[in-house]
């Protein structure tokens, strides 16, 4: 019998299907509408007549909306798509075909990651358009505030979008690992949010473990700081909003860090899913 080989084509087919399924979920549309609403509501800042600093407010709120809703989407969509496959037995139908479990996991990941890319890109473009439009208007009202030309570094706004997408992809990988060994959707979602919180706060442990008095506490805090990725390194939005540019070398290293974790969590999801009984 001909041997079945690992196939990128199959991954592509599964990814495409996952993406289409995700896009057609009501939840995605709902998040897009809410996030757009929040970005659009930054129009209220006009009432305060801040002048040029209004742009900082718009950027902060736009970035905040992207991070918040992107994280929610990354976790909920991943868990939802994973468990709908299991519960609706579509996973059984697929895995009863000549398909490697790793292909299934990679396909799911790429599909959700593509969804997150679409979401992030859409939000980033809309935010950039809004900033550009307000900046142009403000430049006419308050030319003095813009003596040095445009204040918003649009390239950095898109860089921000890219870095957030990578962060969401890590989060998708984390959710996938959790989903691959847990039994319910809700449990996976809750646990993933807890992990997200820890990843955002791990820098506290990271910076503090050497100062702990007890060896045992020190080991525990060290574990906390080492097991979880440091999500604060992706937090470049505040600097972008303040108009401080991000050095290219730093950007490259941040992207490298993100990609390393994307790969690691995918491999761990495959490992954990490999023996899962369906």
């Amino acid at each position: 019998m001909k041997k079945v080989m690992f196939s990128p084509d199959r991954i592509k087919v599964i990814a495409k299907n996952t993406f289409l399924e995700a896009v057609r979920q009501k939840f995605f549309g709902f998040l897009v509408v809410i996030a757009l609403g929040i970005i659009a509501s930054s129009q209220v800042f006009r009432d305060f007549n801040f002048g040029a600093p209004e742009l900082k407010f718009i950027a902060d709120f736009g970035f905040g909306a992207i991070v918040l809703f992107g994280s929610v989407l990354a976790i909920v969509a991943t868990a939802q798509l994973f468990f709908s496959e299991i519960e609706n037995k579509t996973a059984i139908t697929i895995l009863a075909k000549p398909v490697f479990r790793s292909e299934f996991i990679f396909g799911k990941f790429i599909g959700v990651s593509a969804l997150l890319l679409v979401f992030t890109a859409m939000m980033t473009v809309i935010l950039a358009v809004l900033l550009f439009w307000r900046e142009s208007a403000l430049m006419e009202i308050d030319p003095e505030g813009f003596e040095a030309g445009r204040m918003v570094a649009y390239a950095d706004v898109f860089l921000y979008g890219l870095v957030q997408w990578l962060k969401f992809s890590i989060l998708c990988g984390i959710t996938m690992v959790i989903a691959s060994f847990s039994n319910t959707n809700l449990y996976s979602v809750i646990l993933s949010f807890v992990v997200l919180l820890i990843c955002h706060l791990q820098y506290l442990a990271r910076d503090a473990w050497t100062q702990m008095d007890f060896a045992l506490v020190q080991v525990a805090v060290f574990m906390l700081a080492t097991v979880f990725p440091n999500f604060q390194v992706f937090n470049i939005g505040d600097q972008v909003a303040l108009g401080e540019s991000i050095p290219i070398g730093l950007t490259v290293r941040i992207i490298g860090y993100a990609l390393a974790y994307v790969v690691v969590f995918n491999l761990l999801a495959v490992f954990s899913f490999r023996k899962r009984e369906i």
Partner: protein, 307 residues
């Protein structure tokens, strides 16, 4: 010749929560399923049928023992190249059309892109969904879902087809159509494993059956050997009168035979339903001979039996 499926001493345990408690779903099962037949896998709920099928499909790893498909261990992804599977109560991606769904699975099975369109159209037509091919699966009835499920199981032209409750929730007309499709598959030289609670259907189409209970194989053999009473015959007579009984009995007694019972034969409700509602000529034709036979056998649970 390699059997389609060879199961040897298969045991499957499921851990129950923490601790070391285990549920034994299948115990020491050995089964050979030869090529080109319709094989019925029967048993009450919880008897280990589904577990056995999942082991065959490589979805579960055996606790001990082994399972081979056409000689390849079932844990090996390659073993599934020649297997088509229709899960129980299939639920597919609802937003895809029937055509897209079958094409999706065709691509998963690496049906060549240039042959894909023809092959997908072929199997969809074959299961009788040509008209509905470009409707979303979400709008399909249960019977249509089973048929599109059958189409996706066949898209890569497997030699072995495993059908888990293919007629659950399907009306008798649809059910009869699916039965005729299964017989068609056998004619094409495929091996079919049928899991069903509808014993009437199993009886109609299976060549061999195995019955599982509490994880153990309790009966296996040719269907005809298991169900027919070889020393009995029934006669169907027009214008029969009750006063014939005595004379007939003595006539038979003289030839060392015995009249067991006389009863009015009945058509099966299935057949009456199909003849009146019959939406598909195909199903009626295909099943007519068998229905005829079924009518006879079902009419004699107690009567019409003569010796």
């Amino acid at each position: 010749m390699t059997p389609a499926i060879k199961i040897e001493n298969l045991t499957k345990d499921f851990p129950l929560g923490f601790g070391h408690l285990k549920l034994r779903a299948v115990e020491n099962l050995s089964l050979d399923i030869a090529d080109n037949q319709v094989f019925g896998l029967l048993g009450p709920n919880g008897s280990g049928k589904s577990t056995t099928i999942k082991v065959i499909l490589g979805l579960l790893a055996p606790t001990s023992g082994s399972c081979q498909i056409f000689g390849t261990p079932s844990g090996d992804v390659s073993s599934r190249r020649d297997v088509g599977f229709l899960p129980e109560a299939p639920y597919f991606y609802r937003y895809l059309t029937g055509y897209e769904l079958v094409a999706f699975f065709g691509r998963i099975c690496q049906v060549e892109e240039k042959r894909l369109h023809d092959r997908v159209s072929e199997v969809i037509e074959w299961v009788g969904l040509k008209e509905a091919a470009h409707r979303r699966v979400g709008t399909y009835s249960k019977g249509m879902l089973q048929r599109i499920g059958l189409a996706q199981a066949l898209v890569h032209d497997p030699r072995l087809v495993i059908l888990d409750e293919p007629t659950a929730g399907v009306d008798p007309v649809g059910s009869a159509e699916i039965s005729s499709l299964i017989l068609n598959l056998k004619d094409q030289g495929k091996t079919i494993i049928l899991c069903s609670h509808l014993l009437g259907q199993v009886e109609d189409i299976c060549d061999r059956i195995a019955i599982l209970n509490r994880g153990k194989l309790i009966l296996e053999g040719e269907l005809s050997d298991l169900v027919s009473k070889k020393d009995l015959r029934s006669l169907v007579v027009q214008n029969y009168r009750e006063d014939f009984n005595e004379e007939l009995a003595s006539w038979l007694k003289a030839r060392e035979a015995r009249l067991v019972h006389v009863e009015q034969p009945q058509y099966s409700l299935d057949r009456v339903f199909l003849e009146h509602v019959g939406r598909s000529e195909l199903a009626r034709e295909k099943l007519s001979e068998r229905a005829e036979a079924a009518m006879e056998s079902k009419s004699r649970p107690d009567g019409g039996r003569t010796e």
